[in-house]
Symmetry: C2
Subunit: 168 residues, 2 copies
């Protein structure tokens, strides 16, 4: 397979995968583009490669920076900004986990804590089922939260070796 065809396929696949994880297609494609690029790219470069508008390119680059997956690179003498993606996929995965934990898991835990307080009559089956489900979910979420937290705090080596142990 030739390089151009390969790039095209990768952009496509990464975009599709992104969609099924709640990440918009274009954002995932911009990410893919930067991941496989040997050089930092300008907004114009991204616009050209993906055939998207300036506004779209700008907004998705911004979002990627927000997620901590892409960084700005300033070149002396050049006015425009260039963008580079973190290339180490372990770091990428860790960063995505870190962000999703903060954005989704933690808020969910706060809500579940509230919901554990629901009052119900003593023998109300409905109330009992609700409380039980919430408690079960809370227990799982908080275990997951603690585990992720430990993983993320530990240094890369620790993370890797634990992961290796887990897989035998």
């Amino acid at each position: 397979m030739q390089l151009e065809e390969g790039k095209e396929k990768f952009l496509q696949a990464w975009g599709t995968l992104g969609s099924s994880w709640g990440i918009n297609r274009t954002m995932a494609q911009v990410h893919a583009l930067l991941l496989i690029s040997s050089e930092a790219m300008s907004t114009e470069d991204v616009m050209q490669e993906l055939n998207i508008s300036r506004g779209n390119a700008n907004m998705n680059l911004r979002a990627l920076i927000d997620w901590g997956l892409v960084g700005k690179e300033l070149r002396p003498g050049e006015r425009k900004e260039f963008f580079v993606a973190e290339k180490d996929m372990w770091k990428v995965a860790r960063q995505v986990i870190r962000e999703r934990r903060k954005r989704e898991l933690e808020p969910m835990l706060r809500i579940l804590e509230e919901l554990k307080q629901v009052e119900g009559a003593q023998d109300d089956k409905e109330a009992e089922a609700f409380t039980k489900a919430i408690q079960n979910l809370y227990d799982l979420s908080s275990k997951a939260d603690k585990t992720l937290n430990t993983m993320l705090r530990a240094d890369e080596h620790w993370f890797l070796s634990s992961f290796m142990k887990l897989m035998r």
Copy 2:
């Protein structure tokens, strides 16, 4: 907080969380509804509780069955079908992992294997960056795949205790 308010909040929260994981809001809400319900529910029950159409209810219940998160319950003498959700959240999590691995991780690995074959001139920086990124991603994905596979094959006890170890 009263039961009704709690239910409402939970349906809302679970729906929102679903959306950010690429699961449609209604499907997540139907799941939430069954999770907290003490009894199996009919299509009509679901329609009423969530104010959705018959077609919508049917299609999302079907999708949940497809994901292995909900089962049918047939009652002797009754013609209509009733639906129950798996209530054990560990099992739910394992099932979601199992399905996503099959639906997303495995196809992605097949694509990455193809893309590792991309040909490029010896000193082509572009080609080199591409190959390196793909290889890196492949390595991570296949480690993840093996780990998940091991986790899922092992029995529940093993899974739980490994998980516990991981979190200290």
